[in-house]
């Protein structure tokens, strides 16, 4: 398919938002060129031109036109490649729920970042919020195999890239996902068995190294 050959993903190796796109592209069987971007140094002209508003990855270039933001990209892939396996369910209400929980999953990263970055009261607050976020996600997953039921889909793709970050968050937040939310823990393992996920994610040790690097970069601790 001519359309596929012109897919380029501007990304950064450890970015969970980029990984959402990598997993989605793999699930849909779409070929693309992966382009590693320099983020901590000087950003490329291509990145700055493609996402002038936020100057962030991931950016999906399709025949040269940029689509920005991971969840926008996921929606786009379903709509631009309707013959490929859909990420979103067909039912309107189920779609709305999927969009809601996919957007909600951003909180894992947002709150997690505060866990390793902040101290004192702010850190305490982040601990509390992380517990709420994970409890909400665990509640939504329930006893299902995946978030929308039996099939791996939109919410799973959105959330699973944060799985390798959880051991670090557990360390900084002093909690255990396996102990408190075993269903979520089992879900993460289940997703990890899929080829698209296994190939896209990095091991927790690598993520933890990266967090340590970021801490140095921001002059923390």
């Amino acid at each position: 398919m001519a359309g596929e050959k012109s897919l380029v993903l501007l990304d950064f190796w450890v970015s969970p938002f980029g990984q959402r796109c990598r997993i989605a592209l793999a699930e849909k069987g779409l070929e693309y060129e992966y382009s590693e971007q320099e983020l901590l140094g000087t950003k490329s002209d291509l990145l700055l031109r493609s996402n002038p508003v936020h100057k962030k990855i991931p950016v999906l270039l399709h025949a040269g036109r940029p689509v920005n933001e991971s969840l926008v990209i996921l929606n786009y892939l379903d709509e631009a490649f309707p013959a490929s396996p859909p990420l979103l369910p067909a039912d309107p209400y189920a779609r709305a729920q999927a969009r809601f929980w996919a957007a909600y999953s951003d909180k894992v990263y947002e709150v997690g970042t505060r866990l390793w970055k902040l101290k004192g009261d702010a850190h305490g607050q982040a601990k509390k919020e992380m517990a709420e976020v994970l409890a909400n996600l665990d509640g939504e997953l329930g006893d299902k195999a995946f978030f929308s039921g039996d099939e791996f889909g939109f919410v799973d793709v959105a959330l699973v890239p944060f799985a390798p970050w959880l051991p670090s968050y557990e360390k900084y937040g002093e909690f255990s996902v396996k102990e408190k939310w075993p269903r979520l823990d089992a879900w993460a393992r289940r997703c990890g068995e899929r080829e698209s996920v296994a190939k896209s994610l990095h091991p927790p040790e690598k993520v933890d190294e990266f967090i340590t690097l970021l801490k140095k970069h921001y002059g923390i601790e």
Partner: protein
């Protein structure tokens, strides 16, 4: 006319909207329902005293708006708007047909909610240097939108959706009316017609639409409400200081707004609600 039988009965299920009269997020849904010609029941929520129903229907965020369709709850305005397109595809679509255009509309909706809205809210809730910084932020954000209208994704269009209003118009428009209100209340210049001519023209055309006029509260009510909130935020009588054109800001909020003489906690809740409502 409605297509398949099962669609007909699903579509025919009643619609109920839980909202707040001064919430621009609520207005988005009301406007969208009106544009699509969908009838709905409206239930006003007292944000300082949220109903059990709201807490049950939106346990995660506990916020308005929530749309209830056939007993099922949908929170988050931009998600609700997309749901309306999915559930009633034959009625005046809000999103464009083309996948790339849809991606652009979604991207700019996020921009409105993640960048522009909070920046405008920050202008309203701050003073002095902090406010000056917030104003600069608003201008930077508006400049980005203006650039898209002038030479970018929305070049040559009357509305972001094209000849007719679409998702992004609804999202940006319901909230942009606060700009004039905040200018009046804080005395700060936010949307200069000279600096942002296309945005200014778009907003004027948007606000002139019948469905929009039916949806947005009268500017007097908005002004009174905003003055009351700012007054509480600054904690002083007549502290509309920078902009108070001599009008006596009531020490409590407008009659229709959440509560009269609210205690500090509720005041914070009201301020937070209005700050994120842009």
């Amino acid at each position: 006319m409605e297509g398949k039988e099962e669609n007909a009965s699903a579509e025919a299920a009643p619609l109920k909207l839980l909202g707040s009269w001064a919430s621009s997020y609520t207005h988005r849904v009301q406007l969208a329902l009106r544009l699509k010609g969908l009838e709905f029941e409206y239930a006003e929520e007292d944000l300082a005293n949220k109903s059990d129903e709201l807490l049950r229907l939106n346990p995660v965020y506990k916020k308005v708006p929530v749309l209830v369709h056939g007993g099922r709850a949908l929170p988050e305005s931009v998600i609700i708007l997309q749901y309306l397109d999915d559930a009633w595809p034959e009625r005046r679509p809000l999103l464009p047909a083309d996948a790339f255009d849809r991606a652009l509309a979604r991207f700019w909706c996020h921009f409105a909610d993640d960048k522009l809205g909070p920046a405008v809210g920050a202008v309203f809730t701050s003073t002095g240097e902090e406010q000056e910084a917030a104003v600069r932020q608003v201008h930077e954000n508006l400049a980005l939108v203006e650039a898209e209208l002038r030479e970018g994704a929305f070049k040559g269009r009357r509305f972001f959706g094209g000849d007719e209003v679409g998702l992004l118009d609804v999202v940006l428009g319901c909230g942009s009316y606060w700009l004039a209100v905040f200018e009046e209340v804080t005395g700060v210049r936010l949307v200069d017609a000279d600096a942002f001519p296309l945005f200014h023209a778009w907003l004027r055309d948007f606000e002139a639409l019948d469905e929009v006029r039916e949806t947005i509260p009268a500017v007097d009510r908005l002004l009174e409400y905003a003055r009351g909130v700012r007054h509480m935020l600054l904690g002083l009588a007549g502290a509309g200081g920078a902009g108070g054109a001599g009008a006596d800001a009531p020490s409590s909020t407008a009659a229709d707004a959440p509560t009269a003489s609210p205690p500090p906690a509720a005041a914070t809740a009201t301020a937070a609600d209005i700050a994120v409502d842009i």
